[in-house]
Amino acid sequence: MKIRIKFAKQGTMKFIGHLDVMRYFQKAMRRADVDIRYSEGFSPHQIMSFAAPLGVGLTSSGEYMDIEVHSTGSSAEMVKRLNEVMVEGFQVLDWRRLGDEAGNAMSLVAAADYTAAFRKGYEPEDLEGFLAGLEAFYERPSIPIVKKTKKGEKEMDLKPLVYACRVTGGDEPSIFLRLSTGSSSNVKPELFLETYCREAGFPFSPFTFEIQREEIYAPGFIPLNDLGEIIE
């Protein structure tokens, strides 16, 4: 039976790359004695796939993976069992059963929410100007960018791929973004922010923002875990 797991990746775990996160969870399944299904063959591997790889340096409160199991306890029990074998920084948030015909998480991914806050020491002098300009930038009818591809450079419009952009929080404001995600049109939050900084004349470095992914959606902005049902 198919299971969808939601988890958070926080704190120092942001330095663990995607492949190592997969290895980490494979071992975690064994430690928690999850009755996971293995592939056939001489060196069997667990049936496990992740929704969308998260870049090194980003935290997340909404990551997803799908696994297949032979048997399962209740959602609450499985969440508890997994959390007993997690390290600080990884937390399992949800365990839901999917229908047999359900598509896998990776193929469903359509959008994701992010929040970006200035890393200490990287706040612009004119913070107000920065934030006001950002909202105006987002209101533009189109945001053309030049994207580097394997075949050369390609012009494209970011605007239709950015579903939301707003400033939240008071004293320590952060930027909320909802962006197109997935294999067909993937917009990284860094790309959007860098484009703005460059056009508005603010300095940008890979360290300017601390970015967290908040949620991943299937088409229609349905959080991926809403497609599964809680096991009582």
Binding site: M13, D20, K27, R31
Partner: protein
Amino acid sequence: MRKLALSDEILLSIDKPARYIGGEVNMVVKDPKKVDVRFAMCFPDVYEISMSHLGLQILYDMFNRREDVYCERVFSPWVDLDRVMREKKIPLFALESQDPIREFDFLGITLQYEMCYTNILQILDLSGIPLHACDRTEEDPIVIGGGPCAYNPEPLAEFFDLFYIGEGETQYDRLFDIYKENRKNGGSRMDFLEKAAELPGMYVPAFYDAEYNEDGTLRSFTPNNPHASAVITKELVMDMDSATYISKPVVPFIKVTQDRVVLEIMRGCIRGCRFCQAGNVYRPLREHSLEYLKDYAVQMLKSTGHEEISLSSLSSSDYTQLEGLVNFLIDEFKGKGVNISLPSLRIDAFTLDVMSKVQDVKKSSLTFAPEAGSQRLRDVINKGLTEESILKGAADAFHGGWNRVKLYFMLGLPTETVEDMEGIALLAEKVAETYYDELPKSERQGKVQVVASSSFFVPKPFTPFQWARMCTKEEFLERAYIVKNKFKEMRNYKSLKYNWHEADLTVLEGVLARGDRKVAAVVEEAYKNGALYDSWSEYFKNEIWMEAFRTCGLSVDFYTTRERGLDELFPWDFIDAGVSKAFLKREWEHAGQAEVTPNCRQRCSACGAMKFKGGVCFENKN
């Protein structure tokens, strides 16, 4: 949230930041303020190598069982971070608390191979600890060394306050107690070292004077402090099951060399190969019971979630309960997606049967380590592996579906002739011919593939070859070419492959292995001129080392190509490793006559290790 010693900016600009953040599964977390002793356990190499070392995990687990001790880990920063730390003056820190090493009570460094010696200086340097023990103050940690290279600690003598000779399980508890006691009484660093020197196995280099003859050899080596004893006897665990093993190994995030549970089944070896230091200094052979191993196998797989378990020993086939253990592992874990790997097994019917159960025959290869190309030379080195048994093993394996074979050899062994060298190619050829002779065309799985590799022989302390002359770099390479050319003459040349190790590195290893106190200056000079990560051939800079020898006025040949006289006093002679010098001399003479010495289970050769009163020496003698 855990605080890290390095900023995000640094961590995101270097390779594999996970090397430096700690926080792994089973990492031990304690409040440093609530312990009496802080111990930084160091392996002076990069994280992936360091975390693969069993001994470190054993001591980490053992030390942390004490409530009053917090043992943390520290490894060599890779070259990218090394640069950043020097530039920004960031002190080296431990992975657990991320606190600077200089704040610790102990810095324990494991010495697994000679080519890590400059990395030791890197560790001290980046920690802000004076390189020389004599320059350290009450503020500095006690720097203690252990591991196989501590059997000749002399090239490192001035960098260490203390060496622990032998297996760590036995004396550390007392050492920590002495340390606490001394501090409670307001004792100094010196007071502690004097008390430590009275414990078995502890060597405080500053308490000894070395004098030299005019020709550079050692004249005398004598204690200059009444607390130090003239002979240091190695420490070892006699009742293996009484020692605690690792119930919760730390599980790295990134893939390390040993990404699996490692089960140490026994220590020591009965074989008595004359080139092998481990086989001599870890005598006598001592086994764990089957029950003990079953128990730990289950615990460790459960606590790590690893998908593989591997057995560890010098020669697993000599473990008396091997069949029971392997069957247990297969029955218990095979169906649960756990791979079982069985290194250092002799190839025989049992092994092949087991291997066909635990690995994919098509993807795996058979390994033989004849070490020498001719029977005569194998007798010289006392490697009891005959051509007949190799070919028989290979034939059986070919019938079982294998078609890849690896052969390991050494070049530059004592008494080696061109015939012995060419024997390497001939043996590889015979293995290939066996494949074509044994299997009719219809049964063959493609071509056979025989890969022969040779390393260059380095004479090591506490082996019968400690007196031997070592080859020069040119001689090594010349021998490799002789072998290579012979390979070209072979009929099945296309199925054979031959490769050999780097010669520069081997020569240096030879100097450090049998070096004396004078060599320390060379290590330091080389380090100061940029030598680091010497065991990584892409970072090894031979010129720096050669220049350092010139600057220090020392000759490489004195340490390598000089055949030692039987009455020479060696820098390591003050250590009693169990095997007596008289036994080693006898073995050196037997080697000269190509005379084989039986293994411990066939007949005891009175090597000296019987005085430890246990292990194989007393098997069947109750």
